[in-house]
């Protein structure tokens, strides 16, 4: 099949959705249907599992019809299209009543699948990549530790070789949705005597192995999508080592760089909901109108930035660390959104009147600070931008 342009590609995709009888979303329609601007899903473990199952069923349908991993080569079930097509498809999906893709989908498909592709052995690529893309296998990160947050290279979870196995012991933290994942990409210290960046090794840890304990962490939003993951002498076969022994830092960087590229679209669609609310309610002050327009400008410019990054990467022009720019710009916009919705709703943000689509904005306001920390804090992103893009001297 020849695809001439993103437009005709999207038209075909939307035709397929229509053929399946999936209704279009009406973001301008106020007062109807589910309303969520949650940054993190605040769900009970049962709700979380059910949401993941719905998402996986949809991802499977999409993948089997050739709409799943369109920017991957055909041997992974894709179409070998430029990443701009995949990005456009994800944007278009937001206009349809489809299962909400929570964080675990992005982690599995956009972060861990490419990491396995880049670092895995032939057997690992064969065994995992299609499954990750189709979400038959869900995978989370096992990166941060209580003493290794921004300073990720300080991880202390030990990996000790024992014949054809490794024995993993330590504590991981902030692992999003680990309870719904089958595997975790763990960065562990395999050589405590080596310089800290070279003594690390990565593994794909099956989370049902003996010695793995997953405990939810309740977040300030009220939900508990993050987890602590305890590894107590977990025996992992060497066939699940990802990348070379001592190469864990490079493997982690691959995943983190994919995370940052993926995060420019954080909060996408939220500003449209705010605009719909503003139009519906009417606005009393021109100062408030101006605040909303400023927010819309930031949102629009961020989308153009992301679009440009994708197009430039395609044309072989990309500068490094674009992902950090996108992530930082996205989290700044989440905070701006919180500020504007505060001005727009006033009292209705702090006490629930029961009116549709008002108090639910508390989920956005409470969730936004989390993304300014997750995936590398705003401050870490700024340092990365200054040192790696602008070439400023290291401190």
């Amino acid at each position: 099949m020849r695809i001439d342009s993103v437009q005709s590609f999207l038209a075909e995709f939307e035709g397929w959705l229509e053929g399946l009888g999936i209704p279009r979303r009406r973001p301008d329609q106020v007062g109807v249907g589910d309303f969520s601007v949650a940054v993190f899903d605040d769900q009970t473990p049962e709700e979380e599992r059910a949401a993941v199952d719905r998402g996986r069923a949809w991802e499977g349908t999409k993948y089997d019809a050739g709409w799943g991993a369109v920017d991957w080569p055909s041997r992974f079930g894709g179409r070998g299209l430029p990443s701009a097509f995949a990005a456009a498809l994800r944007t278009a999906e937001q206009d349809w009543e489809l299962p909400r893709r929570n964080e675990l989908f992005a982690v599995t498909q956009h972060m861990i699948a490419p990491t396995v592709r880049d670092w895995g052995t032939d057997e690992q690529v064969e065994r995992f990549v299609r499954g990750l893309l189709r979400t038959d296998i869900m995978a989370c990160q096992l990166f941060s530790e209580p003493e290794a947050g921004s300073d990720l290279a300080a991880v202390r979870t030990r990996a000790v070789r024992d014949g054809r196995h490794w024995v993993l012991s330590g504590q991981k933290v902030w692992s999003s949705m680990a309870a719904c994942a089958q595997y975790g990409e763990a960065i562990c210290r395999s050589d405590p005597d080596a310089p800290r960046h070279t003594g690390l090794t990565a593994f794909l840890v099956p989370l049902d192995l003996p010695g793995v304990t997953i405990r939810p962490i309740r977040q300030m939003t009220g939900g508990a999508s993050f987890n602590e993951v305890f590894l107590d002498e977990v025996r992992v076969p060497d066939t699940l080592r990802l990348g070379p022994e001592g190469g864990g830092w490079q493997v982690a960087l691959t995943t983190l760089s994919a995370e940052r590229s993926d995060s420019g679209s954080l909060g996408a669609g939220t500003v449209d909901k705010l605009l719909a609310l503003a139009r519906h309610r009417g606005l009393s002050s021109s100062a408030l109108v101006d605040e909303i327009v400023q927010l819309w400008i930031h949102d629009r410019v961020l989308a153009l930035n992301n679009q440009r990054t994708v197009a430039e990467t395609q044309a072989g022009q990309a500068a490094g660390a674009q992902g950090s720019l996108g992530k930082l710009a996205a989290t700044m916009n989440m905070r701006r959104t919180s500020d504007v919705i505060t001005a727009l709703l006033g009292d209705e943000l702090i006490a629930d009147t029961g009116e549709w689509g008002t108090f639910a904005w508390t989920e956005q306001v409470l969730g936004a600070p989390g993304y300014r920390i997750a995936g590398g804090s705003d401050e870490i992103q700024r340092t990365i931008i200054a040192e790696r893009v602008l070439g400023m001297p290291r401190g």
């Binding site: 679009q307 197009a311 401050e379 602008l390 070439g391």
Partner: protein, 379 residues
Amino acid sequence: MADLVESAEQAELRATLRRLFGGPSACLARPEPDGDSYYDEKLWGVLAGEIGLCGLSLPERYGGSGYTRADRAAALHEMGRCLLPSPFLASAVLAAETLLATGDEDLLTGILPGLAAGTTLAAVAYQETPGGDGRPVRAVRDGTGWLLTGSRSFVLDGSQADLLLVPAGTESGSALFAVDAAAARGLSRRPMRTLDPSRRQARLDFAATPGRLAGAVGAGAHAVREGLAHATIALAAEQVGGAERCLEEAVEYAGMRRQFGRPIGSFQAIKHKCADLLILVESARSAARYAASVSSGPGTDEDLYSAAALAGAYCSTAYFTVAAENIQIHGGIGFTWEHHAHLYFRRAKASEVMFGTPAEHRAVLARHLGLPAGPAPGR
């Protein structure tokens, strides 16, 4: 989808111009301080004649070379980087686009080739003289022609232009008039002091000055609005060039200047400021390229006006922020007359206001978004 990627030809044009212009000091040192002209006429001859910059995006049938406005934006980016003093923005962009928008075939055939060659300079006198010190321009019929009376201010390159385009009220609505400045009687032109020394603005007073109708009576405001939209988009490209240059200089200085025994650029306070500035520069680049792409395409007036407002609002604010923080990072040396940081600051501030303040651009966007726009804040 808008084309946000720079083409190889655009990159090549920019490289050529960067070599030709040199740095800001070279650009600003050229004009004779006491001469009539504030810009380098020899360089203008090269730009307009040899390189054909003025006619770059004008239609071939009017003496242009038929490239896109996005190509022209690439050239403006370089002019903005070095603060090039030149009549390009006033004549080759604002006046040429305003004329094009009239669709007046006679005038286009007669005037545009001169603008495209850079041998005729034109200016658009569209802003009222504030206060009670001048009346809006009115036009009355005089036999087959028209006579213009009233006052205009802030006219970019108004003192020098050979041709003035003047929107004026008539009994049947606004109309655009072309005034031959050299031959005109009853025309007085007074240069205004400007914040930005690399730009010239003037007050013009008309007293029964003969003008020639351009386009239809009633269509004057539309032609000016379209010309201003293109000028705003062109200015956005300049603003990105200037902002980019300021950030480069800030980063370079922060890497060189040592305090407390280390380069100040190794302190997080400076690094994080520069990272934030890079987001502004890159975002402004995306906004400006998007608007240039829209202005090169076949879109509607609404597409053009909203793209211009988006680029105008974002790039103006971004440039001024970067120019101001550049001075902050340079410290005391950045506040001196000798250092050129203040010239960027002046240009950024002047550009922020010219063709519409950010708040005015945002008021346009509020209407575009269907938000009930009250009076634009700030004005």
